[in-house]
């Protein structure tokens, strides 16, 4: 198994074999990231393609500070956000009405669910909500930064996250046996 340093050096030298190895190593994980941001597989593969071209074009700028996978991942996330913005301009159209009597999060337990099902549920979110969910939950950005990245207010980011979570919960509920609701007192 060739380590990342050698692959990176090869890619910096423009070696095709190194580029192929790097792609094979990281493409599956990065497609997993892209699938969370995009609404379908075709878009996700477009973002993956665009992202890897950026990776190879800018790999000379990678100084080895921090994880290489993290660096690629940041490029993929930025590419995905640019792609969404370019194509649809973050839409925050109203998602279906959420009943106001929904129980608090503390009252429920979520049963394990397959990644494929969860990806489908996330993809059913409108672009704007999906981006907020991804940036907050998976990338760990605070609302302030999300607001800057997406060009929205901090409060919008918070409210959209809350709505998105409720939406996801209801979608999971619709898939019977996936979500188990229990009362706080058991």
């Amino acid at each position: 198994m060739i380590d990342d340093d050698k692959i990176i050096e090869g890619c910096k030298a423009g070696k095709k074999q190194a580029q192929s190895r790097l792609y094979k190593k990281y493409a599956p994980a990065m497609l997993g990231v892209c699938l969370r941001y995009c609404s379908n597989m075709a878009d996700a593969e477009d973002v993956l393609q665009e992202g890897f071209i950026k990776v190879f074009n800018y790999i000379k700028n990678f100084r080895g500070e921090g994880s290489f996978e993290g660096w690629i991942r940041r490029i993929m996330v930025n590419t995905a956000l640019t792609h969404i913005k370019k194509n649809t301009k973050y839409s925050f159209e109203d998602i279906e009405n959420i009943p106001s009597n929904y129980q608090e999060e503390e009252d429920v337990v979520y049963a394990p669910v397959s990644p494929e099902v969860l990806i489908k549920v996330i993809q059913s979110l409108p672009d704007g909500y999906r981006s907020v969910v991804n940036l907050y939950i998976f990338e760990g950005y605070p609302h302030k930064e999300i607001a800057e990245i997406m060009g929205i207010s901090e409060s919008t980011s918070k409210s959209q996250l809350s709505k998105a979570k409720k939406f996801l919960r209801r979608k999971l509920e619709e898939k019977n046996k996936v979500l188990t609701t229990v009362t706080a007192n058991g």
Binding site: K16, E45, Y110
Partner: protein, 466 residues
Amino acid sequence: MDEGFNNIEDLLKGTLDGYKKQPSPKVWNAVSLKLFFSSSLFYASVFLLLVGMGLGIYFYYRTDNTAMETYPENEVFVSPKDETGTQEFLAEGKPVENNSKKSDNEQIITNKIVDNKQNTTKGISNSGTIKPVTAQNNATVTVEQDRPNKSDINAGLAGGTGYNAVTTSVAIASNTSLKRLVDQYPGLPGLNDNINRMTTAEPLLVNRLEYSLPEYFSFTSAYKDFDLVPKSDYGRLKGAWSVGAFVTPEVIFLNDEEKSTKKAINFDVTGIYGEDFFLEAGLGVSLSEDNGKYDIKYSQYDSVGYFYQVNSFEINPVTGEPIFKTTLEGLYDTVDYQTSETVNNLYTYLRIPLYVGYKIRDFKGLSVYLKAGGIYSVLIGSNESGADYTNDKATSIIIVDETPQRVHSYFKLSASIGFSYQLSNSVSLSLEPVYNYYMQPVYERRLSDKSPWSLGLRVGVLIKIK
């Protein structure tokens, strides 16, 4: 995690962190293709190709010029050819000494031997016969005329008044010289014969210079009915270099589920090098139309039905039944609507075509050839229209741009069968039905897994420049 997750964030992170999915092979193919075209290897290949072509052309023409320079120093082999007295001048590169072995009735005369004139004169007086004297006189003509000047040749070429001018200039000096000789040596039948024969249709001279001239300047074809284009030259862009200007209307089949088609028009200027096999490269612009699409969602306060508003009632005194007095009232609510708007967009690409071709047939000025190659296109401009939707009654309007983004650059393979018709020595018309296969979708956002293809008709003019 069989027990489940306490909140949705844990569920999402726990399930999807580290989630992997294998992408389809076409993603890597597209990545590597784009990397190739943006790599220095690509530019180096193009550079080497251009340098190679340049060197080839340079050496090709340099060799030709050398041939002109080594035109024999008025060494003319004069031979009585047949019994009828037909004579032929043959330019020979052989030294005089080698030719000295010729038979008695063949004489070698060069302008180095000043005495030749005297010999000639002697020959006339001694023999008084026709054959040798004729030959010697011809030789004398050559002696009179030093090596033809380049300027003479060029003047003949530039004159464009027919090929006789060239012939005379190159091989037999000038009519002025001949007339002077006739005046000087009246009654020399051989000389007169030759002067007369120069105007006949029979080719008299074959000159080494002819090998470095295009065929249509040759003696063998120039005298035959003054054909502008020799038969062997029909349909041929001889002389190797041509430039062409082409227009190609094209229909692009996107290969998507809707089987949609788009129109494009291309303008190319190319240089063509070669004869039966040829290379063509150039630059062009492509204007490609496409549709932009906007999804428009709006909410409007609208009628959703009606109901009867009871304003009052009274009891029927006879039957005791209530009688209601009502009015019909409309029922209004905010209703969501969805529509879409299609706009026309125009995209401009810079095209770099490179083809290799082979001429398969020549017939009376009509050539048929096969051509294949590639075209690299780079997006240089786009004119995208915005959605123009207004609705005064709408309470909210959301416009979502669904226009697929065009790729910045793409490569397509091209194959065509071409027909060209030669109008004159230097101008031809060409007509080429073209098939193109795009190596990748033209959209960033993939509409189809299949690459588009297109059919076009390339029409143009070719001008031979050398």
